[in-house]
C-alpha cells in the first residue's frame, strides 16, 4: 500500500493503476492533484479552462466511482454546459464569482431546483424541489460547477453511509471499509480525487467523522453561520452545512462562499463573515490548546491516541501552550444527542406522509389487502379487531412510511416519538435540553482558558463495512467526540494527523468558541503547514 506519494508521476500510476505519459492526459490528471486555490489561479491565468477542469473530474468519477460509490447522480452534460458558460464569460472579461469554474460536489440533502434531492431515501427518490437551498444558490452565484450529488446515510442518519437506500460508499483508502457518514459520499469523493471541494452537513459529526476517516479536511461551522434554508432537516437545532476539501485553505474558501446571514432562516446569525481565506496563513500567536481529560479514556485506539498526542506536540513545537481541561458533562453528550436529535427528527420527518409528494404505497394493492383483512375479521367475528382496523387513509400513511423509510430512520422516528410523548417528555426531552445547556456551559468555561480544543475525531480509524450493521448502539458511539460541538453550537474542524499501521487516515479535531471559525482555520493551517498528512493520497493498489 502506498504511503506518501509526493512524486506526481508515481502518484498517477498508482492512483489509476496505469502509466499516463500522454501529455494532455497527464496534465489533466495533474489537475486532480492541485488544491482548489491553485486551480482557481490556473483558471485565472488561463492555464486551464473550466471545461477542461470539469472534464478531468468527470473522467475521474467515470474511472473511479464505480468502485467508491460516492456519487448518487452525476450530470456530466449539465456540468460541461455550465463550465462552457463560465469559460465564455471569462473570455469576455466578465466579473466572475469566487469559485468560478471550480467543480463542487453537493450532498444529496440540499435542495437544487435543477436536480432531484433524495436524502438517499426511497421516500424522496423522485423528489425534485422547486427551489434552491441558500447554499446551492450561493454556490451557483459563485459560479461553481456543481458536478454531482453525493451519497449519504438516509436523511443523514448514520455514521457509515450504509443507511443509504441506494448504494454503498467505500473508503478510498480501503474499499472494504466505510468512508464514515453521514456525509460519506462527500468525504470519499474528495479523498478519491473526484472533486476538489464538496459540501456536507453535520448534525452529530457527519462532516468531521467522514473527513477524519477519509483523510480530508472537513468543517462544521457555528450553528447559524451557514443558512439551513433548503437543507432537508434531520435535527433542526443541530444541523449545519459545511465544507469538505483537501486543505484548510480550500475549506476556508468554500466556507466563506456559503456562510452568511439569510433572512429565510430564522436561526441564521446576523453577523458579518470574515474573509477566512485572507487571514488563514497568519499563524496564531500565544496559542493555547486545550486537551480534554475525558477524551483520552478507555475505548480510544492506541494508534489514534498516539497520532493525536503527536499532533499536540507539533503545536507545542510551534509555540503553543497545552493545557488539560475538563468537560465534565461530555460523558452525557451521546445520550443527550440521541434524545434531542431523534425527537426533532420524528417531527421533521412527519411531513413525509405520502399525501403531497414523495413515495406512496400502491393504492390498489393496499385497498385490496385492507379489504381482505376486514373480511377475515368479519368471518372470525372479531369485533374488536374490526373496530381497530385502519381507515384507508391511516393505512396509506402507515404503509407508505413503512415502505419509504429504512430501518435506521424508523428507529429514530420511534425513539423521538417516544421521548416527546406525554409522560416521557420531562424525563427525556426536557432533561436532555438541560444537559445540553450544561454541556455548553462546560465549553464556555473551557474557552476562558484555551483558544482551541484538540481531540481525536473518532476513537478508531475506519471500520469494516457491515461491522456494526446489527449493533446500532455501537454505531451511535462513533459520534462520541463530535456530538458535543453540535449540542453546544460550536465550530469544529477535522484534519488529517496521521495514519494507522494499516494505512488508514487518522483525524485531528479542533474546536473553537462560537463564531471562532477564523481561529479554527488559522490553527488548522499551522498544523497543516508543519506536517504533510494533508498531501497524502490513497491508492487503488493492494
Amino acid at each position: 500500500m502506498l504511503r506518501a506519494a509526493t512524486d506526481e508521476v508515481i502518484w498517477c500510476r498508482l492512483f489509476w493503476g496505469v502509466d499516463r505519459h500522454n501529455s494532455d492526459r497527464y496534465f489533466s490528471m495533474s489537475l486532480l492533484e492541485h488544491s482548489a486555490c491553485e486551480l482557481l489561479q490556473l483558471l485565472e491565468e488561463g492555464k486551464t479552462s473550466s471545461v477542461e477542469l470539469a472534464q478531468a473530474y468527470l473522467d475521474a468519477i467515470e474511472a473511479r466511482d464505480s468502485q467508491i460509490g460516492s456519487f448518487l447522480r452525476v450530470d456530466a452534460e449539465a456540468a460541461i454546459r455550465r463550465a462552457e458558460q463560465i469559460d465564455r464569460r471569462r473570455g469576455k472579461g466578465e466579473q466572475l464569482g469566487k469559485l468560478a469554474g471550480l467543480p463542487v460536489a453537493v450532498k444529496d440533502v440540499l435542495c437544487d431546483r435543477e436536480t432531484k434531492t433524495t436524502c438517499a431515501s426511497r421516500m424522496l427518490e423522485s423528489f425534485r424541489p422547486p427551489y434552491d437551498s441558500t447554499v446551492v444558490a450561493k454556490l451557483k452565484a459563485a459560479d461553481a460547477v456543481l458536478i454531482g450529488r453525493t451519497n449519504m446515510d438516509e436523511f443523514a442518519m448514520g455514521g457509515s453511509t450504509e443507511n443509504s437506500a441506494f448504494q454503498v460508499t467505500r473508503n478510498p483508502w480501503d474499499l472494504e471499509r466505510t468512508p464514515g457518514g453521514s456525509s460519506g459520499g462527500a468525504a470519499a469523493c474528495v479523498a478519491g480525487g473526484m472533486a476538489p471541494l464538496s459540501i456536507g452537513t453535520d448534525t452529530g459529526g457527519s462532516i468531521r467523522q467522514p473527513a477524519g476517516l477519509c483523510g480530508v479536511v472537513g468543517m462544521k461551522p457555528t450553528y447559524g453561520r451557514v443558512s439551513r434554508f433548503g437543507l432537508i432537516a434531520f435535527a433542526s437545532s443541530l444541523d449545519q452545512v459545511g465544507p469538505l476539501a483537501r486543505s484548510t485553505q480550500d475549506a476556508a474558501l468554500l466556507l466563506e462562499t456559503i456562510a452568511g446571514h439569510d433572512p429565510q432562516d430564522a436561526t441564521s446569525l446576523d453577523v458579518a463573515v470574515p474573509k477566512y481565506s485572507a487571514t488563514i496563513k497568519q499563524p496564531l500567536k500565544n496559542l493555547r490548546i486545550g486537551i480534554v481529560r475525558e477524551h483520552f479514556a478507555e475505548g480510544l485506539d492506541a494508534e489514534v491516541e498516539t497520532a493525536v498526542r503527536d499532533a499536540i506536540k507539533v503545536y507545542e513545537s510551534l509555540g503553543a501552550t497545552v493545557k488539560e481541561i475538563s468537560l465534565p458533562h461530555s460523558k452525557y453528550a451521546v445520550a443527550t444527542y440521541y434524545v434531542i436529535a431523534p425527537s426533532e427528527a420524528s417531527s421533521n420527518l412527519a411531513r413525509y406522509d405520502s399525501v403531497h409528494y414523495g413515495y406512496r404505497t400502491d393504492r390498489a394493492a393496499m385497498l385490496k389487502e385492507l379489504e381482505e383483512e376486514r373480511k377475515e375479521l368479519e368471518t372470525a367475528g372479531d369485533q374488536a379487531g374490526l373496530n381497530s382496523l385502519d381507515s384507508p387513509l391511516v393505512r396509506m400513511y402507515r404503509q407508505s412510511r413503512a415502505e419509504g423509510f429504512g430501518p435506521e430512520v424508523k428507529r429514530r422516528i420511534m425513539l423521538g416519538a417516544y421521548t416527546l410523548s406525554a409522560g416521557y417528555y420531562d424525563a427525556y426531552y426536557l432533561k436532555a435540553l438541560k444537559v445540553r445547556r450544561l454541556i455548553r456551559q462546560d465549553f464556555d468555561a473551557a474557552f476562558e482558558e484555551v483558544d482551541l480544543i484538540a481531540s481525536p475525531v473518532t476513537a478508531q480509524p475506519a471500520f469494516k463495512l457491515g461491522a456494526m450493521a446489527d449493533d446500532p448502539l455501537s454505531m451511535y458511539l462513533v459520534d462520541l467526540y463530535t456530538v458535543s460541538a453540535n449540542l453546544a453550537g460550536l465550530p469544529g474542524i477535522s484534519l488529517p494527523c496521521g495514519f494507522s499501521s494499516g494505512g488508514l487516515p487518522i483525524g485531528l479535531q479542533l474546536q473553537a468558541p462560537p463564531l471562532g471559525e477564523e481561529t479554527l482555520l488559522r490553527g488548522a493551517y499551522m498544523f497543516e503547514q508543519a506536517t504533510d498528512w494533508c498531501r497524502r493520497r490513497p491508492s487503488l493498489e493492494r
Partner: protein
C-alpha cells in the same frame, strides 16, 4: 324562570388576523383564490423550507391581547403540535403551548335586553398559531376522493380561550358580539364568519343540585357553528340534550371522555363526531426553526397607549356625557367608530345629543341600510345634519318637513338652507293659519259636529286638506287650532 340546572359555557374563538401575508411565509391570505394558488415551499411544508415569523401578525395579536386586558409575558415561544392529517402538510401545526403570547385577561359583557347582569368573562389565554388547509371530501359515486386546498395553510390565527364563565346562550352571544366589536374597533380582523375569519367552538356542561349535592355533567365541545345565532341555538339545544341524557343515565363529569359534537344547523341538533382526537397526544415541543419572541414592558405599554377608545369605554361615555340610553348607545357603538364619530359631531354642533341620537339611529342608519353604504359614503355631513337639527329647533324648518329636507340635501348634495328654499318652506303666520282652519271648519260642518260630540279624531281629515292648501303648515298646529275652534263653535 327556574331552571333545574345551570349551563356552564366556555368559548374558544379563532380569529384570522388582518395581515396581507401568512404567518411564516410571504403568501397572500386573500380569500377566494383558486385552490392551491397561494402557496409556496414554506406553507406547504416542502422539505428544507423554513418558517420566518410575520412580525405584523405578532403585533396584531399583541394589540388584541392588550385590549383584552391580558398579561403579556416578556418571552413567548413557538411549539409544534403534531398530528397526521392530509390538510396539515408538515405533520405539525406551529402553535403556542406552554408559553402563550398572553394570558389572564377579561372582557366585560352586558345585555341591553336585561336578561343578565353585566359581568366580566375571564380570558384564559390568547395565542398565535397557523391555520391548516382545507379538505374537500368528494364522495360522489362511492369514489370517496378527497381534495385538499392549501391556500389557507399558514394563515395567522389568534386563538382566544375564555374561562367557563358564561351561564346562558345569551351570555355567550353577548361575549361573541362584544369580542367581535372589539376586534373590529382595533382593526385586527375583518371577523368575517362566512370566510372563516372568525370561528367559534364552545365547551358546555351542566351544573345540577341533586340530593347527592352539586354535580356536573360531562363536558361536550361543540364545533361547526357558522354564525353567532348558530352558537346560541347549539348551546340551548346541547344544554337540553345534556339534561335529558343525565336524567336517563345519571352520567357525571369524568365518567366518560370529553366528547366532540358537531352542530347541524339545518336539523337544529348536535351530532357526536368520531372521537379521533380523544386519546391523541400532540407531542408538543419547542419549534427549533423559530426564535422565541420577546415583548418588553415598554413595548406593551406603548401598545396600550396606542389603542383606540374601546367599545365599552365609548358606550359609557355616550351614557355619561350624552345622556343616551344603554340601548341607543349600543346601537351607535355597534355600528362602528365612524358612525359614533358622526353622531358625536352632530351632537356637538347641534348641541342636542338626544335629537342627534334620534336622527342618527333612526333616519341615517335606515338610509345606510337601504342603500347598503357606509357612513363615509353618505353625502350629508355631520355639520350639515347638525344645521338641519338647528333649523328645526329654530323653527325655520317644520318637523314634518325635516325628512323631506334631508332627502333633498342628500340627493342634491346641498345644505339645509337651500333645501328649505327649494322645498318652498316658509313660516306660516299664526293669523293666516287661524283663517285657514276656520275656512276648513266652515266647509265641513259634519266634522265640527263630530268633534263636538267627542270624536276628536275627526279633525284628522282636515289636516290633509290644510296641507293641500299650504304645504308649509304644521300638522300639529292645524290639529290644535281646529280642535280649539271647533269646540268654541
Amino acid at each position: 324562570m327556574d331552571s333545574p340546572y345551570t349551563t356552564v359555557i366556555g368559548l374558544e374563538v379563532h380569529v384570522q388576523l388582518a395581515t396581507n401575508s401568512k404567518l411564516f411565509c410571504g403568501c397572500s391570505t386573500q380569500f377566494g383564490a383558486e385552490p392551491n394558488t397561494q402557496t409556496c415551499p414554506v406553507c406547504i411544508g416542502l422539505p428544507g423550507s423554513l418558517p420566518v415569523m410575520n412580525r405584523l401578525a405578532y403585533e396584531l395579536s399583541l394589540k388584541t391581547a392588550v385590549a383584552l386586558n391580558c398579561e403579556i409575558p416578556e418571552f413567548t415561544k413557538w411549539d409544534r403540535k403534531q398530528y397526521f392529517y392530509p390538510d396539515l402538510p408538515k405533520g405539525y401545526q406551529i402553535s403556542q403551548f406552554d408559553l402563550p403570547m398572553s394570558s389572564g385577561g377579561f372582557l366585560e359583557i352586558h345585555d341591553t335586553k336585561d336578561q343578565f347582569e353585566p359581568k366580566r368573562i375571564r380570558i384564559t389565554r390568547a395565542h398565535l398559531e397557523e391555520d391548516a388547509g382545507k379538505s374537500v371530501h368528494d364522495e360522489v359515486a362511492g369514489k370517496a376522493d378527497s381534495e385538499i386546498d392549501l391556500n389557507r395553510t399558514g394563515t395567522p390565527l389568534l386563538e382566544i380561550v375564555s374561562e367557563p364563565d358564561m351561564r346562558s346562550s345569551a351570555e355567550a352571544r353577548a361575549f361573541l358580539d362584544e369580542l367581535k366589536l372589539l376586534l373590529l374597533y382595533i382593526g385586527v380582523s375583518d371577523c368575517n364568519m362566512q370566510e372563516g375569519s372568525l370561528r367559534v367552538d364552545a365547551n358546555v356542561n351542566l351544573h345540577l343540585e341533586t340530593d347527592e349535592g352539586k354535580i356536573a355533567t360531562p363536558i361536550v365541545e361543540i364545533k361547526n357553528m357558522n354564525s353567532f345565532r348558530a352558537v346560541e341555538r347549539a348551546l340551548d339545544y346541547e344544554a337540553a340534550r345534556q339534561y335529558r341524557v343525565w336524567q336517563e343515565t345519571g352520567q357525571k363529569i369524568g365518567e366518560s371522555p370529553k366528547q366532540t359534537r358537531g352542530w347541524d344547523d339545518a336539523e337544529g341538533i348536535t351530532l357526536g363526531q368520531r372521537s379521533k382526537e380523544e386519546s391523541s397526544d400532540y407531542r408538543y415541543f419547542p419549534d427549533p426553526d423559530l426564535a422565541p419572541v420577546t415583548a418588553s414592558p415598554e413595548r406593551v405599554h406603548e401598545v396600550k397607549a396606542g389603542l383606540c377608545e374601546l367599545p365599552a369605554s365609548l358606550r359609557s361615555r355616550l351614557l355619561s356625557e350624552h345622556g343616551l340610553s344603554l340601548y341607543d348607545a349600543d346601537v351607535l357603538v355597534n355600528q362602528g367608530r365612524a358612525v359614533v364619530d358622526y353622531f358625536l359631531e352632530v351632537a356637538k354642533q347641534s348641541g342636542d345629543s338626544k335629537s342627534a341620537c334620534n336622527w342618527v339611529t333612526q333616519e341615517i342608519l335606515r338610509i345606510l341600510k337601504d342603500r347598503e353604504i357606509s357612513i363615509g359614503d353618505f353625502s350629508v355631513s355631520a355639520t350639515h345634519l347638525a344645521d338641519l337639527l338647528l333649523a328645526v329647533k329654530e323653527e325655520k324648518l317644520p318637523k314634518s318637513r325635516a325628512k323631506d329636507a334631508l332627502e333633498l340635501m342628500d340627493a342634491k348634495n346641498i345644505e339645509v338652507a337651500e333645501a328649505i328654499e327649494q322645498l318652498g318652506i316658509e313660516q306660516v303666520d299664526e293669523s293666516a293659519l287661524m283663517t285657514l282652519c276656520q275656512e276648513l271648519l266652515d266647509a265641513n260642518p259634519k266634522i265640527v259636529a263630530d268633534v263636538q260630540a267627542g270624536k276628536q279624531q275627526a279633525v284628522g281629515a282636515l289636516i290633509g286638506q290644510a296641507k293641500k292648501k299650504n304645504p308649509n303648515v304644521d300638522p300639529g298646529q292645524v290639529r290644535k287650532i281646529c280642535l280649539e275652534l271647533a269646540q268654541k263653535d
